[in-house]
Amino acid sequence: MSSKYDLETIELPAVWRSLKPIFFAAGLILLAGGAFLSLFARGADGSTDAAFRFFMHSYLANFMFVMTIALGALFFILIQFVSRAGWSTSIRRIAELIMTTIPFLALMFLPIIAILFANYNAPYEWNVPAEVHSSVIKAKIDVGYLTKEWFSIRATVYFALWIFMAFYFFGHSRKQDETGDVEHSLARQKWAGPCIMLFSLSVSFAAFDWVMSIDADWFSTIFGVYVFAAGMMAFFATTILISMALQNAGKLRAFVSVEHFHDMGKFMFGFIMFWSYIAFSQLLLYWYGNIPEETYWYQVRLNDGWQYLAYGLIPLHFAIPFLGTLSRHVRRNRFGLTFWACWALAVHWLDMTFLVMPNAGAPSFMPIFGHLLGGIGMLMVFLSFFLVRASNVPLVPMKDPRLPEALTYANPLL
């Protein structure tokens, strides 16, 4: 074919297909290795109960690490249709494939539900009412909000919503691959608005349920936005890395240009700032108000060794990547952008660790190393899901009517 838009370049590289089981197996082995290393965790009194507690927190943190990326992808797809964006069409399929891993991630959430029904109070301390000492948490259990049944029903609703939305959008996208009918674009444009409303609501509440309630005394109305902001940054980093890797494997070169990387780099930069804004707003208000039931969340994170992580996030999650991605020359440079995307993904993992792990107790070397292994394992499992989704699907929606726009636009400024 004489055209530079070669259809062979929009298929997954053959080698990548064969990586699926390897990634999945390696990921599970790393997760198991992490679980083993968390056996070294000891409570303040030297008890071994802390090991299980540590592992469950670690699993939740690593699960949130990849879950937020998939949610970021879902939001990205929705907002593209709300704003009728054209620039993103050639990278949209990658985001669609990330978002359609949500059903697999729902399976990865099952262990957490199972632990609840096995009546363990880790990571959710409210799960065993008999061992709850705080009157506030007791009240929350009594009004029926923090109970395992309701928690599971809510989680099912969230997943059902997300899976429905993801497959509605993905389904239309796939059908358009065959017919090229604009109706598929119009249908998605029509439903993207209401879907965004449902998405904001469900992500906020999922963040309250899954992450905030591990500290069931504590509350912060901005928490959902915080998790959302973190996930969006990680999503752009992931998409940049996947597109870069595909191009290095000889794919997508005519479809994804430096302009797309530049734009994704801008979004990543923007969400680094937005995360900092949200994190700072929460910190400032609680620091200033100085009410014990609000500040103790920070107290836990500023003691026992976690303070290095907490203070470290300021340069690592804000100052350094902010200055690093400030220049358009960096965002238009393949190596520069890859480096900062890796950085963003790493600090996103640190951020999720910061949200969840301090509740598991003081850190020590071996369990934390195990947590890191678990994080890498979870990411590999996540990538294997992505590869499963991507195996038989073209990586660019070739018949999307907005594709020419994506292939011709340029960033004049910034």
Binding site: V136, Q189, T221
Partner: protein, 489 residues
């Protein structure tokens, strides 16, 4: 553009339908560079319509009343207002936050929509920026006269006051306000002014009278349209946009800190910063619609400020209105989830306490009325959208009233609870600030370029260029003979 021209109707053309793959035209009626210049310059060059004089007479009278009331207030003291214990912050703060919020749309349109490459901003950004500055002026008056001894308001700046070498207290959110609103006002002003420089040069070059030419010549600083200048200018404009985007977020964030750093239930909640920003954008866009709908009709600018522009703004109103609704809901949920009796009481008191009427006006106007924008005919019907935008303006004023007054009137000490009643002066001064706002806006229409002429032309040129390129790529994708080969980078 051509396909529309057959059904050309100078009053309204629906260019909101956007077929994927084929962008609807941003401006209607077969415009050329010449006709765009003509259409915009006409506003300031032709004699003003009678309606302008009626509105100006009315608004300048109101503004004068307002200024006289300020003098009276300074003479008599803030006791003429209804502020009382425990509602020490009443209408003046409500009005301040109301106006600052409205002042968010302009810079949002110029900066954030610019960064998102939303070309439709070019027809509306100038008027919105002007509105922003006038709204911020109205906002700035209230804290200035609320300090009691208004002639000492300069002590808010880092000035060693009272010969004690006593500096301002930098941990106070009210001082942050001084810096945030000050920075916002001055940055918006230079942003607005810088954007106008090329258009002022157009005004200068079209001027027939030497005096006009002299004044516009002075204002445009000798702009020639040199490409070397344009390049630096565009860079500076982009930088300003990149700076103004976080700035616009920070201003209402800081305003929300005025409330949220306290420990008062209903004020002390972490969602306040993004929630206030969403509310500010919401009210600002509503005010832009309120102003632009009559403006485009009076000056016959329907081809430049098209239904598509209004439709887009209405969508943003819908989105931010729903975000505000989400924030109300989150607050209520968290008050219940926290199982904190003070939080729960505050929110139940808001909805069912003595100020229930204000609360439900707020919910009706802010959350329910913008939901009408789900229907396309409401979004594209100028009368309907104008009515909704008025409702949103009312609702957003009541939101600030609800936050300020209901929380303060029921503080921790039941013995000091009270019911706030405004006085005649509160009402007249709020009304009067609209006079100031409208007077300045009418003068702006009269003397300054109401639409960013050069930017509209730039977008016309760019969309022509893009259409060409896309047609080429489409041919190539469909397997027709490609015009050129080679890699994109």
């Amino acid at each position: 553009m051509a396909s529309i021209s057959s059904s050309y109707n100078p009053r309204e053309i629906d260019n909101t339908g956007d077929i994927p793959g084929r962008r609807a035209p941003l401006i209607t009626g077969n415009q050329t560079y010449t006709s765009v210049t003509e259409m915009v310059c006409r506003v300031a060059e032709d004699p003003q319509p009678r309606l302008w004089w009626i509105l100006f007479g009315f608004s300048s009278l109101t503004a004068t009343t307002f200024l006289m009331l300020i003098v009276f207030l300074i003479y008599k003291g803030v006791g003429i207002w209804g502020n009382m214990s425990p509602v020490f912050w009443a209408w003046p703060i409500v009005n301040f936050v109301f106006w600052v919020g409205i002042g968010h749309a302009g810079t949002l349109i110029s900066a954030i929509l610019f960064l998102f490459r939303q070309n439709w901003r070019t027809s509306i950004n100038r008027a919105a920026e002007a509105m922003t500055i006038f709204a911020v002026i109205c906002a700035g008056i209230y804290p200035g006269i609320h300090v009691g001894r208004a002639w000492l308001a300069f002590w808010l700046l880092p000035y060693p006051s009272l010969n004690l070498w006593m500096w301002p207290q930098f941990r106070s959110p009210l001082l942050w306000d001084v810096f945030a609103v000050g920075t916002y006002a001055s940055t918006s002003l230079v942003f607005w002014y810088m954007g106008m420089i090329p258009d002022l040069a157009t005004y200068r070059d079209r001027s027939k009278s030497p005096l006009r030419r002299f004044i516009y010549g002075l204002l445009c600083l000798g702009w020639t349209g040199s490409s070397r200048h344009w390049l630096v200018y565009e860079k500076a404009y982009t930088l300003l946009a990149a700076l103004a985007a976080p700035l616009v977020l920070s201003v209402h964030t800081v305003v929300s800190f005025d409330f949220a750093v306290s420990q008062l239930p209903g004020w002390h909640t972490t969602i306040f910063p993004p929630y206030f920003v969403a509310g500010a954008i919401f009210s600002g866009f509503a005010m832009v619609v309120t102003l632009l709908v009559p403006m485009r009709a009076i000056y016959k600018l329907e081809n430049l400020i098209t239904l598509r522009h209004l439709d887009n703004m209405n969508k943003i109103i819908l989105a931010t209105g729903s975000l505000v609704g989400l924030a109300y809901g989150t607050e209520f949920f968290m008050a219940w989830y926290s199982q904190n009796q003070y939080e729960s009481f505050t929110f139940i008191n808001r909805a069912f306490g003595p100020y229930w009427w204000a609360y439900w006006i707020m919910v009706t106007c802010n959350v329910i009325s913008p939901q009408l924008f789900w229907f396309k005919w409401v979004r594209t019907n100028v009368v309907a959208m104008w009515v909704v935008s008025i409702f949103v303006n009312i609702g957003m004023w009541f939101e600030r009233f609800v936050i300020t007054v209901t929380s303060l009137s029921r503080d921790f000490l039941p013995s000091s609870w009270g019911y706030y009643n405004p006085t005649m002066y509160d009402g007249l001064m709020f009304f009067g600030s609209f006079g100031v706002f409208l007077t300045l806006f009418l003068l702006f229409c009269r003397y300054l370029p109401t639409i960013a002429i050069s930017e509209v032309k730039g977008v016309m040129s760019a969309s022509d260029h893009a259409e060409h390129q896309q047609a080429e790529v489409l041919a190539e994708l469909q397997g027709k003979e490609p015009k050129h080969v080679g890699h994109a980078h």
